[in-house]
Amino acid sequence: MIQPNDTTKHTSTSLDRTLQPEINQIGKIDFIKPRVFDISGQTKLYFTPDVPNETARIDLYFHAGSIHGNVGVASFVNGLILSGTATKSSTEINTAINDLGGYYESGLSNENAVITIHALRENLVAILEILSDALTHVAFHEKEVTELLADRKQKFKVNLEKVSFLAQRSFQQHLFNDQLYGRVVQESDFDAIDISMLKKFHQAHYLKGLQKVVVIGNLPQQEIDQILDITGKWTGDLNPVFAKDLSNLKGVNHQVKAGALQSAIRVGRILFNKTHADYADFLVLNTILGDYFGSRLMSNIREDKGYTYGIGSMVAELHETGYFVIGTEVGTDVRENTLKEIQFELKNLQNTLVDREELELVKNYMLGQLLKSADGPYNMTDLYMGLEPYGLSMDFYNRCIESIQQISPERIQALAQKYLNWEDMTVVSAG
């Protein structure tokens, strides 16, 4: 037990609790970029060695996103990477990885697939070797394929019971309005898959589809050389064309789900990515509207009306373009009112200047969040990887800090008038 000394006691009796303690501005952040190695040609390995503990991570990116192949194929191949080779069963492969404490994850987006391993650094290369054998020699055994398709079909049916899934699916169709980006899996697609399609996809998009590799962890150079060797065999000359000029289907679309207690809502439009001159400033507008707990949408629709547990907006990026989306789940009886309130908040940003106090708060909040996004080797590397597709340097974030510090209420209003017109939005709901 520590007895408080007299000085502090004296201070506490004269404490004015209504006044916020003085705030220090975030001045500068030191952004550190990873080391870059050539795997072959365009394919690079990004390496951050400055990790002060025993953890390590590797990400393998492949040109194996869902826009490639017949519908569903990318997802099924992604799920079958560890499903067994001619000589090893899926259980043997998983157990070999688990013996070394490895955590294997795989993920899929429109434009690429990523395989991630988390492990202690002493085990990372050994696990990668097991993965390498499994990935290179997947046999697509019929039993494994049948099992995965049945599991996925069951999951798909469960998802169809979720209003958030229905709305997201409909949003993807209406937003991208494109044969590849806007397509979604139907139940019948599970039955149309044959093993030769999977093999062909694997051959083209994994065995010759490596896009980039990220390694974080205090690994010796010799192990980085080993990783370069192992991953080098998956490179090829695949040069996918990513969509550039997408345009969303405007208007309102509601899908009825009988018995639902809530409706899921998505409102959004095709926008841009980091390469666009308005990107950094738009992030400020997006934060004010819906990207923090005190945002306009949260304050109005959750904290004033109590319509929802949460509502938010975000900017998502693709290789050559990007989009903006607002998402929420609300009581079915207040769906119409919620849409009206969202519309009101967009109009309000177009018609009325943001006041200085709110803008000041958002600026400070964003700088604090940027500091957080740059904290530690894992976050710092991810921050850099968010620039890599666009060929931007870490200086981009210093420019962001400047944009945030300098932006005016007039500029925010102008951006709202340009990009947040209700008439330009895809509006979908389910429930």
Binding site: M1, I2, V158, K372
Partner: protein, 413 residues
């Protein structure tokens, strides 16, 4: 190794300081020793509703979040059946704002009727979004009262029913605050690049004059030992049949807690685990299966859950599952199997310990259990587990008379 200093204020507030020189951020984590288990049976969901109200302004500060955001930080909280935990993450240079906000809401809330009315609605929407409007979402609302007959673990954190939240009054709210929200019932952890003396003087400045209050004495009805097999089937409009087997297990402070955790890992942590390999890969009975523990402070549950493949019956699953559990009890595990489980635990812990917020929360939880130093002893406890410990505990808990089964039968709409 997570290093820390600990001191206590005259009003009973326990403070832990964890220094980390590598980060420009600070964490202020406040754990209140109150959870859904402390609620009255006719006013459930209250600890959680109250957590929402803690963001509705305090006695001297009309809005909790805005000043914190203004300082570049953000905040959130969670409620479990055992505890309520609040955390602020912000640039270290602005830590005083977090201490100002946290101390003021420990002193007293604003208790505005508007905040109560809105948060009641928000929590009801949360109830719908997470429990009622999701396939299988109400499973815990059904399973808890099946497994527990007297202990307050028989209701979920969100509450037994929406009506309890609708009926919450301002008087309920105030009385809950007076009883549970005082310095002697809280543990504060400050993490970041500071000096101990600096932390002591800041904490004394902001928390020192909060009246001590009285630490409430917890007297929960003990759950009598289960002596019968319990089984319930509910019908829901879901696409697949699902099963949940719940076994009572040792409380958090019992060494057997860790043994039960390791048993759940052996049975169903990953794709090498016993149940995944036999029931899914070999016998093709299930589409998914896993095992885990609830992590409760009092006697918790070891859960085995999953979904059936089309055409498989609950009876087929049940007999295959017991066959596996009986085999598990009949034979000791190979050392290599335990070694694999321990390597995975060690790896997961190394990643968890990376995060400043995680370290701060864990220090508070271990302090609540008796000593924050416990955070550094977990690995050793796991390493000391021997095959016979696992077999012995498995024999005592993986039994029909210690088991509550909830089956969700899929029906067509």
């Amino acid at each position: 190794m997570i290093k820390f200093d600990r001191f206590k204020l005259a009003n009973g507030l326990t403070v832990i300081f964890h220094k980390d020189q590598t980060t420009p951020l600070a964490v202020v984590n406040t754990l209140y020793d109150v959870g859904a288990r402390d609620e009255k049976e006719d006013k459930t969901g209250f600890a959680h509703l109250f957590e929402h109200l803690m963001f509705g302004g305090s006695i001297h500060i009309p809005d909790f979040d805005a000043p914190l955001q203004h300082a570049g930080g953000e905040s959130n909280a969670f409620t479990s059946n055992d505890i309520t935990n609040y955390y602020d993450v912000l640039p270290a240079s602005n830590i005083e704002t977090a201490l100002w906000l946290e101390s003021d809401r420990m002193l007293s809330l604003a208790f505005t009727p508007k905040s109560l009315e809105v948060q009641r609605n928000v929590v009801i929407e949360e109830f719908k979004q997470r429990y009622l409007n999701q396939p299988y979402g109400d499973v815990w609302l059904e399973l808890r009262p099946l497994a527990y007959k007297t202990h307050p673990y028989k209701w979920a954190t969100i509450g037994k029913e929406v009506e309890h939240i609708e009926q919450a009054t301002m008087e309920d709210v105030k009385s809950f605050f007076r009883t549970h929200y005082n310095p002697s019932n809280a543990i504060l952890c400050i993490a970041g690049n500071f000096e101990l003396e600096e932390v002591k003087s800041l904490v004394e400045k902001w928390f020192g004059d909060i009246p001590a209050g009285k630490k409430p004495v917890r007297m929960l009805p003990a759950e009598p030992s289960q002596e019968e097999y319990r089984q319930k089937t509910i019908e829901r409009q879901v696409p697949a049949d699902a099963f949940y087997y719940a076994f009572k297990m040792p409380e958090r402070k019992d060494p057997g807690y860790y043994v039960a955790d390791l048993i759940s890992d052996a049975l169903g942590r990953d794709k090498s685990s016993r149940l995944y390999v036999t029931l899914k890969k070999e016998k093709q009975l299930v589409s998914e299966i896993g095992a885990y523990i609830t992590g409760s402070l009092d006697h918790g549950l070891l859960i085995i859950s999953g979904k059936l493949n089309d055409g498989v019956t609950f009876e087929e699953l049940d007999s295959a599952l017991w066959e596996e559990l009986n085999a598990f009890k009949a034979n000791t595990l190979e050392e290599s199997e335990i070694a694999r489980l321990l390597t995975k635990i060690r790896t997961a812990k190394a990643f968890q310990d990376q995060g400043l917020l995680n370290r701060a929360m864990n220090l508070c939880i271990f302090e609540l259990l008796g000593d924050a130093e416990g955070v550094n002893e977990e690995d050793l406890i796991y390493e000391a587990i021997k095959p016979e410990h696992m077999q012995h505990l498995a024999q005592s808990i993986l039994n029909q008379t210690n088991c509550s089964v909830l089956n969700v039968k899929a029906i067509q709409s």
